[in-house]
Amino acid sequence: MADIVIDRVVKEFGTFRALQEVSLTVNDGEFVALLGPSGCGKTTLLRIIAGLETQTSGRIVIGGQDVSNLVPRKRGLAMVFQNYAVFPHMTVFENVAFGLRMQKAQQAEVKRKVERAAALLHIESYLDRYPAKLSGGQRQRVAVARALAVEPAVLLMDEPLSNLDALLRLEMRTELKAVLREAGTTTIYVTHDQTEAMGLADRIAVMYGGKIEQIGSPLEIYATPATRFVGGFIGSPPMNFIKVQCSQGTARIGDAALPCPATGKDMELGLRGEDASLSPNGSGIPFDIRVVEPMGSHLLLTGSIDGQPARIVAPPIAKVNPGERVGLTVDPARVTWIDSTTGRAIAQP
């Protein structure tokens, strides 16, 4: 088992800077998700850790050993690729055994470890089949089994669930979490799917534009986003940002007043749709409803606050109509204040 230290890693493709001084420490046995939109550098970072890409500058240290200049096979890690990369000319057994065979393990040991990995991922029944005869979900299991069979110190996963349909993805996610918890492997998991990251990871590193915007537990990232980007990227519907004027420590929207942490700055009020509730008498922050979408578990209300677009989540039984103006009450402790000029969150007083 091993921890991973990513130390000021920079990657440039020609003049384009894909990663700008990224630093991240992953503890032994921890599951960290790299989350971000496509093109944010998360896959590049993973490939640098794997040794498939060479960093322009910076260091990668795995388990105390500087592996920055080592070829992939000497880094003691395993990887699950986005398109699985299950070898089509080998049976499932040989695929899972591939890493062990390369380590020149004894036949009996290969058999034992392959069978254990296969049992873990429920693929025992088709060990002698070829990948062409497997469904996407089965291939995905084979790819994970191949990675786990070598009992790696570090497991890297590059969007392993993105090619599965929604139902299978949910099922695999749950299983993956159980399997990896059991194996206790240090894992870095790249995804653009926030529910995957939230559900699987011990910590999430949100990346944007080649930088890590915020690192924290799923709940921290959700409740207290460090930047405007994180708030807007995490959560469905995304966080609402309402421009407000602050004077004497108070921000006024309609007839509502909220304590605000700074004065004399352009501020934005970051408000989660589910943190606002409809006030019984119409007082509070005025919200003009434009569209009402019944989602089953809740109503999704789209409209505007003070002329700025916003989305609010209401209980499914709420009596609201499009075109109506309602009042919202919010808990001041659950809002985020963003400095408009820097886009960063301001600490609550």
Binding site: M79, Q82, A85, H89, F98
Partner: protein, 286 residues
């Protein structure tokens, strides 16, 4: 519209089984025409080769062979030099296959996997070698081959045939390697392979069908080539070059026998590697 709607669920189930009858007719007609296109000439050549002297001149022609005999064939093979020329042809074609695959595949791999300065120019140059008419090069080639001691050897002929076959080998293998996802190799590297091991264990097995196609192509190019083979050899001629010389003054049924012998190796070779070819074309063969 209603007819179409009624047919749709059927065609959706299994396309090849439930093609509308008109389209099936068209398909089979096409197949029949293609088969006839290939087989009828071969059949008539064979008829001429095995039908004996009389069979060649009989008119009207019979479809069924009447007096089959191996006489013409054995006599033809007994002509002095034919067997030697056949061996020379096989050597030259075999060497051409080896050189084309072993020189062409690495070039194709490099073009497919790495981006380097002058890549497009290189790709164009590879093709441009085919723009040079061999006739212009004939004299200087002969002179330098004599100097190098390559003149009148199957090895020398195979070098020229390799030049002819190599551009195709490079371009075909390039697209072949491009079709093999890089992730397979990367996965092999991560799981403990060196670059060379990854190529041997993962890329090569997947590339075999395409390499077989490349080999066939090189073989056929060499086997059929007659100009370079004629000017670069005197005694150690390849079969095509030898036949070109002797058949001009031979009876017709000998010519058929010669033609038949020219056809057979290509057909056999393609037959031998057809499994890989089918795999390239995406036709399942069990």
């Amino acid at each position: 519209m209603t007819i179409q709607a009624a047919e749709l669920p059927q065609t959706g189930k299994s396309r090849s089984m439930t093609l509308p009858s008109a389209r099936r007719l068209l398909l089979w007609t096409g197949l029949a025409v293609l088969l006839a296109w290939v087989l009828v000439p071969i059949y008539f050549v064979a008829l001429g080769a095995f039908g004996g002297r009389l069979g060649v001149f009989r008119w009207p022609k019979t479809i069924w062979p009447t007096d089959l005999s191996l006489a013409a064939m054995t006599q033809f093979l007994a002509i002095e030099g034919v067997f030697n020329a056949l061996v020379n042809s096989l050597i030259a074609a075999g060497l051409t296959v080896l050189f084309s695959v072993f020189l062409g595949a690495p070039a194709g791999y490099a073009l497919a996997r790495y981006s380097f300065r002058g890549q497009n120019v290189y790709r164009l140059l590879v093709l441009l070698t085919r723009a040079f008419p061999l006739a212009i090069l004939a004299l200087p080639l002969t002179v330098s081959f004599i100097r190098l001691g390559l003149y009148d050897t199957p090895f020398g002929v195979s070098l020229i045939h390799t030049v002819l076959a190599l551009p195709f080998a490079v371009l075909v293998t390039q697209s072949l390697f491009m079709g093999i996802p890089r992730e397979y190799e990367e996965a092999a590297w991560v799981f403990g392979c060196t670059r060379f091991q990854a190529f041997m264990k993962v890329v090569l097995p997947l590339a075999l069908p395409g390499l077989a196609a490349t080999a066939i192509f090189a073989f056929v190019i060499s086997w059929n080539e007659v100009f370079a083979a004629s000017i670069l050899t005197v005694r150690e001629r390849t079969l095509t070059a030898y036949l070109l010389r002797i058949l001009a003054e031979s009876p017709l049924h000998y010519r058929f026998a010669g033609g038949f012998i020219l056809i057979i190796p290509s057909v056999l070779f393609i037959f031998a590697v057809r499994r890989y070819l089918f795999a390239v074309w995406g036709i399942a063969s069990k």
